[in-house]
Symmetry: C2
């Protein structure tokens, strides 16, 4: 009996995901984009202790381990780096971080310059991460959506794009995140950050797309948030010149 | 001597404003938009007491005075409304709210569907308001930028556009606010709210453009924030259909 109940639950979940996928596809349909359903990947259970460590080392004038900007190394693939996920102690070279993320953290990798990231279960308590890798224009990018309580009792959503490469390589690209629902539209456009910088510091600086819970709810549909993502090569370094 | 010092100060202020105006114009130059320097208009010194009054009346099931949606009145100009500014006890009809804002609060009115709002002195402590009226497409709109501490000790900036008209009239328009600086771009697009709804409730709901202080600083230049504003008539009610 329990087996049948579980099977029925699984079928219902599949129908629900399929329905969400269909709805997100309808919203972003004109662009014919790939829709990727992203479940929360990461409980950040050691977040507080790593935060404290980063804080302490910064106060002592020591760079935290993820700040190996290392442009002096000639082959960017051999720059040492840490895993961008908060609670993971892994360290290695840039060339193997993608396989580490896929194998250890089971993070999906998607192809295409324009995709739709559909984050499910937005109601889950902070801290929670939704992460995918995105392969386009000859590089791999990491999209991180994080629910975090920067101000106690007030969770916010932070979304940023990191290049799995050096800061110099990152400067060649521009990414755009777009939310569109309920007669409201929000677009954020910036240069991706290098994975050699901390995701955590990008988020704590607030230099990314930031959503209060109320706005995230307005853009959500049935507990899922669809974010349109586009990556292009930067033609000019100053986007002001484009306006 | 004091007179000369004051004169010199005034000339320096003028040069500074002119320089900011020139810089904002350069950023938004391609569109040939009108740049309007907006000084803080409003100290909100009675904010706490009015907040408390609104809170109390809502808890007692009484609508606060600014919630006269009043679509039953046939001539929209005769709908009763209150002054949208926080500390002002004025009440009157929609048809005279523009002259009240101009005469009592000295709020500028600008012409044109696309303008640049250049808010000065962003460093001033919360609560602070920057307000202009904007006349286009046969209607008057009110742009409110407010610095407010929704979470104690963490001021945020909230920007919204209100139509000086009824909610039904407001549904015919779409407004866009755009920030563009330091290789970052943020766009917010929505239907304006009617001035018959509280500006305060729009801001407390967070259903507007919200900036944390760190992001506001990234978009600011020398303490001033340039916001590109565009108003259009809504062709379709659901903006999802446009994508």
């Amino acid at each position: 009996m329990l087996f049948f109940t579980q099977c029925f639950g699984a079928v219902l979940d599949l129908i629900h995901l399929r329905f969400q996928h269909y709805k997100a596809k309808r919203v972003f349909s004109a662009a014919g984009q790939l829709v990727c359903v992203v479940n929360p990947t990461h409980s950040l259970k050691y977040a507080a202790s790593r935060c404290a460590a980063v804080q302490a080392s910064t106060e002592q004038g020591i760079l935290p381990p993820c700040h190996h900007h290392g442009e002096a190394v000639h082959d960017p693939q051999l720059v040492p780096c840490t895993c961008p996920l908060f609670s993971c102690p892994w360290e290695g070279h840039l060339e193997v971080v993608v396989s580490h993320l896929r194998q250890t953290h089971h993070i999906n990798i998607l192809q295409g310059a324009e995709i739709v990231f559909l984050a499910t279960d937005m109601h889950l308590p902070a801290p929670t991460d939704w992460i995918i890798m995105h392969s386009c224009l000859g590089h791999q990018f990491l999209l991180v959506l994080r629910k975090q309580e920067k101000y106690e009792g007030h969770p916010q959503f932070f979304a940023t794009m990191m290049l799995i490469g050096t800061p110099t390589q990152a400067n060649n690209f521009t990414y755009r995140l777009e939310l569109n629902r309920n007669q409201r539209r929000l677009k954020w456009e910036a240069t991706p950050r290098s994975i050699l910088e901390c995701v955590d510091s990008v988020i704590s600086d607030g230099d990314c797309l930031v959503l209060n819970t109320s706005l995230a709810q307005l853009f959500s549909d049935n507990g899922s948030l669809a974010i349109g993502i586009a990556i292009t090569t930067s033609k000019v370094h100053s986007s002001e010149a484009e306006m």
